[in-house]
Subunit: 283 residues, 4 copies
């Protein structure tokens, strides 16, 4: 595929859709996907439009400039992406490797439109698996005393590898606000509970203690507020009194893999718009 | 709400979306919902667009005519609806009244944008409930010997009540092809199985015999082929070896109510396009 | 059905199941259901056993006494119930009537093994519906100033009607600890969120603000801690950015009905054991 | 764990549970799980009972003999298993490796109480993955002309590796009745549809053509009737008009992995009883 994707948000007004689709049409583009959403409470307009660049009248590097007058007219926040450019993803992981294992398998199976050149961990458990996939592995241990220094090391290697997106595949260290600012809406986390229930540590143990009949997993963008970022996707599974904490862990891991992989896929396919600490997902 | 809804399907081509949205914009309409879908296998374009008629430059009875040149240009199949016009719905029911009961409650609660002036049954079981809602009840018994004559009676009363849409809420009589032709894509049935599994009679008994671990319900448009019409919505619930046929019936009835009410709601909101014996549901 | 149901919990030990089943067998009872659970963390044994009283050697009023030596030997907490005795249920409701409406319909359809002689409300909205079912309706308005006095009135009418079980079908008043003590593990509430998320007021608005992708409903026993009692059942439905608060309410109401009715049914069928602020549900 | 598991089915009669639990108790066994089910339609009794062998009065090789009088008294079909004996599993696979990959990962993670010494395939695609896990890989290609001869080869290697259970992890060859007879209720297949819908070839393409709104996966025991064996487990996922066949395949693969792994786990934990072409799963 050789498509362009435009993500737009702005105050709602007459003529936005007409202007944008007319722009694509006049330049000989064929729309392959268009979806819009209006949030009535805030009068906000959201749009995702994807068109083929085969035969399109503008070169890639001309599109943004040609689009700008329309964007300015409606005071849009907008992003322009090209499906042929594969984003570079780094995965962070600690000692639970099931999500990493799943991501690498799916990547190999062609589910993700990206490259995965780098895995960073505060432990060595993932090293063999990562190297088996010919991916660079950086072990950067952390504790409270050296967090700031180690985050610099992480930022160095992320920069060196030109990383666009960070996926936290059960990485059990909290990042500083400073670090998070480098990847706004580009850090995806999996939390092993149905947020906002059981934020923080040991959610499966919390769920067991509470006696819930359903457990969940939540993928969200990382913000400076722990486990409070915009939710991208959630899913659940039934549990019963017969399930002990280990059973919850085992059942939950299947959820974590599926929920995280959906979130990563939608992010890479540019299907997600963030506003007001929530997401619009054009799935 | 005072909106217009346009449903379109045609062969995909450049400029369809631009032409339609431009038509709305030039006449001073504000789009409140727009979604499109392209079926790549058949190169078919589908669109639902809804806009506010407040301040719209055209009167309702002028819109179709003004739209026609665009429709002709792209050889569109199209429907134009107005949200202020409430469709008139007749419900057919036999002896299982849970779906009828549910539909009437939801109607009262404001879930459906329609009127329900008529219930037809081949039995008298529903009579008290229907009359309690001040709805006309027509009892038209049927057997193999009088089917054709009775269908004429049904068509008479449907015509008299100016019925737009028929909902079969567990009506256990099969209609003749002739009857069905009067309401193309305007007869909605609930089948108490996860079609195409267990079409025909006694699906819960069939499911029990088969030992499935999940049962379902399916709402679909009625066509001349029994239980084969385009599927609108399905949902499921888990069952186990502990459930006997009566348990399946009880669990399934909750599904039937929910699945049928979703289908009716989407139909009335003009969210469904039928093509190729399948549905596009812009939910 | 003419069965006895025994619910047991005690510290686990050898011979419990053998003693209990032997007791039933020696008295010529045929077991129709038996399930047990051991909570390994607390070494607690739970059992539900149901047997037919047809041909049973003991009269109903002799069973408890005959059972007592076994119960004492293992220091059991135990309850003995008879399926022929129909418990008397009172429903409390405020202004949202969908759960009440659903409960009454299911009761009529034979889903619940109970009588419903009484509905209490702090408003008059439910009056017509309740009286239409020939059920006594008590309107007992409440505000902060008269709560204690009004609860006394409620207790009076509950006592007069010999109520065994209270179902809070969207009753929006908080009970005093005193009141709750009269119905330990016999007050069932429906909370319109996936607890422990969104406890307290306006859970759908909270869920909307948070941008969750799934909403839920939770049925639980009422304890003195608001929305913190043992969870009986939960279920969920998917939502998206397209759903506004009203949509969440509409979707959630279907959940509330189903979740509450399951909880009520299991309670009446004596399938629930409470321990450690959680439930064992032998479904 | 060092437990014994007894699976029983027979005509229902008074005293079965008492006899069995008394047998365990008198020999000083502590029951850790007991569940029974009575199929009222066929008057059949099913029981799973698991007890600890720590301090049990009988040696393993004495248990069956001591149990026999009770079994004979009630004319039981019964199986006795020991949790310390790890069954030997062979996986068959063709070209879709996701289920195999998943099974091997779960095995490594300790989800399955078994050994996996052998993988058999009619292709070479899985060879590297299998050998990477230090598992024996046997490539036995098949076509219509050599099926019988190749099945003999398969049986030879299965016998040599003392295989107890066969898992068909997307193995796309049909076995002869003769082959199937060697592993009655010990061959577990994953079918990539919600059976009985879409049995046979290309179920995802069939589902796409039909326009279903939900797809499923089914794990079942293999019998001589293709895709008709007793269903062990099923699960489903929502799809929409936006999903093409490839999307169904991708979504379905997650289901296949989860459904197959549950079935394998239950089988290995001796939680499944087959009767009347259906299963009782004591989960």
């Amino acid at each position: 595929m050789n498509n362009a994707v435009l993500l737009i948000s702005c105050s709602d007004a007459k003529g936005i859709t007409a202007s944008v689709t007319d722009f694509v049409f006049k330049n000989n583009g064929n729309i392959v996907h268009a979806d819009q959403h209006i949030d009535a409470r805030t009068n906000t307009f959201f749009m995702r439009i994807e068109w083929s660049l085969e035969g399109f009248a503008l070169q890639r590097d001309q599109i943004a400039e040609s689009m700008r007058p329309i964007a300015d007219q409606f005071d849009m926040s907008w992003e322009l992406h090209f499906t042929q450019r594969k984003e570079r993803v780094a995965v962070f992981v600690s000692k639970h490797l099931h999500c990493l294992h799943d991501l690498l398998y799916r990547h190999k199976a062609g589910h993700f439109s990206c490259e995965i050149p780098l895995v960073i961990s505060n432990h060595r458990d993932a090293e063999a698996m990562v190297k088996g996939h010919k991916i660079k592995f950086a072990c950067i241990p952390k504790d409270l005393s050296n967090k700031s220094k180690q985050e610099e090391k992480e930022l160095d290697v992320l920069k060196k590898e030109k990383i666009d997106v960070i996926v936290l595949a059960r990485y059990h260290q909290i990042f500083s606000d400073d670090f998070v600012k480098h990847y706004p809406q580009r850090m995806i986390n999996i939390h092993h509970s149905f947020l906002p229930s059981f934020a923080g540590k040991n959610p499966y143990a919390q769920a067991y203690e509470k006696g819930v009949k359903i457990i969940g997993a939540t993928s969200h963008y990382v913000t400076k507020d722990l486990d409070q970022g915009p939710i991208i996707e959630q899913d659940i599974v039934r549990v019963s009194h017969r399930d002990n904490v280990q059973d919850l862990v085992r059942k939950g891991e299947d959820l974590e893999k599926i929920v995280l992989s959906r979130a990563v896929r939608w992010h890479l396919d540019k299907r997600i718009l963030v506003y007001n600490r929530k997401t619009v997902v054009f799935d």
